[in-house]
Subunit: 362 residues, 2 copies
């Protein structure tokens, strides 16, 4: 891909929902904002990490806050611009390329809108390789790029620039600001040069999301099984391994709001008679899937719950009793599986006792 | 006064407690920090508003948060320096003079410490002419100086710079940050030039506080009545009118924490037999004193509850059943009594139904 046009947005939204692994905010809302920006400003250039000049000023961006609030507080598209302007004023530097801090959900879309308005390229990469619930859960942080200055803005033009040496502390302060800003805010952070971006980012995730969407669309048009098509598609990418780890009906579903996160467990009753139920634990995103005491997949690997018929991802807040679903797991690339990476967003970072074992082919 | 030395700090603390009108944080804690800074760096030059050069870069500063937390989280003196450094980095300007944003409580002391460390003068003026509970309740705001950029820092070196056109919104966001920073934070804001400072500030309040302390100290040494001495002292200042509006014993006392404020009512039983009780309503500071349905004094005029014997102010959090007290009221200067000023910190701004009537001589 050389650029992102209006015609890519439907595929991107479908792919971003799957990379969202249940969280990340509704990409269909982000799509409205990205579409408006592309209609106004034309397509956005997509740069692979290899194409970013060594000295180019890169900034990561995205929305943070409760996904449910996003629906009531539709972004106008100016919020991110406010954060960018504050970041530039504060640092005295000009932003030359935009990177999503997260691949998946609304945050695959938000960077496109601000890049279009500013006439900047988007980098085909991100810092999570999926959706995660916290700003420090970034390969940028894992491999030594400071999160701050972090600029955070709301739709009223309020903006704050945070400086702290710790990415976790930046998350803590930014989360507090987000609450004061009405539950939804827009962040520009992890400023770095192009050479650093190449070293610390998960590559190719924007085109990966578009590819996921296109694969599903084409499989459905050709009446082929969409999940098999997805598994084959991932096999040809640097993610490599994807697998259907279960299928069944949504049974018990417990969810509660804890410290601003949606936390809970969903129990899926397999279609296969006599099989143990599959339990998926959730903190915004799906964290671990177990069956009969065996771990089927665990964070940071992706666990996406897909509608049985459409193969589209069902976000956590739309899970309902009785839904018929497939559970797809995807192994993350090597850069997300190092000991340093697992220390930041492996099972223990979410309070899980499970050791990480990468998803196997069978 | 030409400078502030270690020998002024005791008087300043006593005066700042009275200007604190029950709130503003414990000046005796601030004194420890100011003393350490003055011991290290020598006296601080005190500039009257007339002496500030028109083009000098002035910044206001002080601590915000719950006074009770201050006691547990003693400031190290570096916190304000962190905020100053962030304000300068963000604006690209150098701070040339320091002004307290509040006269009273801990915030008469905090600016002295940072000025001493930086070798800057302190301006003998402030933006409240007393203590108020919120950052927008400033004559700076009343007369058109923007609160932002507002830099806010904690003792761990975390700092955030807020930009919003509204001082009330800056307060709202800064309050949220203060909570995330552990309940106590240090603010540098209301950047302005010397000419503006002359136009928008309450003059002479640092030397006023020292004068209050000195007056009490000298009256006690000479075995004269300290309250009469205070009334005579105020008569010679631009505040002009001070008056003993009651005396009695603290009776019922209701206080609760509401949205981070200490809110309540204290009932004072006059010594005079048969007299109606005096009710003082509190939001951190003492807001209104009433007796038999008559308003004795109301915000922005000062209402200070003084220990009957020492004539030192009793802060809200140290009020106890059975204390014997004098109630002193002080009329604020004209700059704080205009319709624009009353819109920002008059009775209605605190949700009180009372009209403001300036304290009369009798």
């Amino acid at each position: 891909m050389r650029e992102i046009t209006i015609h890519d947005l439907d595929d991107l939204a479908v792919g971003a929902a799957i990379l969202g692994t249940g969280g990340g905010g509704d990409p269909y809302i982000g799509k409205l904002v990205a579409r408006a920006a592309l209609e106004e400003s034309g397509p956005v250039r997509l740069l692979s990490l290899d194409e970013v000049p060594d000295g180019a000023q890169v900034v990561a961006c995205g929305a943070m806050g409760a996904p449910t609030i996003l629906i009531e507080k539709l972004p106008g598209g100016e919020e991110m611009e406010t954060a960018f302007a504050a970041w530039e004023r504060h640092t005295g530097r000009r932003i030359e390329a935009v990177m999503p801090f997260e691949a998946g959900g609304v945050n695959s879309m938000v960077p496109i809108a601000v890049a279009a308005r500013r006439g900047l390229p988007v980098i085909d990469a991100d810092g999570m390789g999926r959706a995660f619930p916290q700003l420090e859960m970034e390969t940028f942080n894992v491999y030594g790029v400071p999160a701050c200055p972090t600029a955070i803005a709301d739709e009223k033009g309020n903006v704050s620039v945070i400086e702290t040496p710790s990415a976790a502390q930046a998350e803590w302060i930014a989360r507090g600001l987000t609450i004061r800003m009405g539950g939804q805010a827009y962040v520009a952070n992890y400023g770095m040069d192009g050479a650093s971006a190449r070293r610390v980012s998960v590559p190719g995730t924007m085109s990966l999301a578009v590819g996921i969407g296109r694969t599903l669309r084409e499989a459905k048009a050709a009446r082929r099984d969409p999940v098999s098509a997805l598994v084959a598609f991932f096999a040809g990418t640097h993610y490599g391994c994807a697998r259907l780890i279960g299928a069944g009906k949504v049974g018990d579903l417990s969810r509660r709001e804890v410290n601003g996160w949606s936390v809970g467990t969903v129990r899926i009753e397999p279609f296969e008679p006599g099989a143990d139920p599959i339990l998926v634990e959730i903190q915004n995103e799906n964290l671990v899937a177990e069956q009969g005491g065996q771990v089927l997949a665990v964070v940071p690997d992706l666990i996406s719950i897909l509608d049985l018929d459409t193969a589209e991802a069902i976000p956590t807040e739309r899970l309902r009793y009785g839904q018929r679903v497939n559970i797809l797991a995807v192994r993350v690339p090597e850069i997300m599986r190092t000991p340093e990476a697992l220390a930041i967003f492996g099972p223990a970072a979410f309070g899980l006792k499970h050791a990480y074992r990468p998803l196997s082919e069978t």
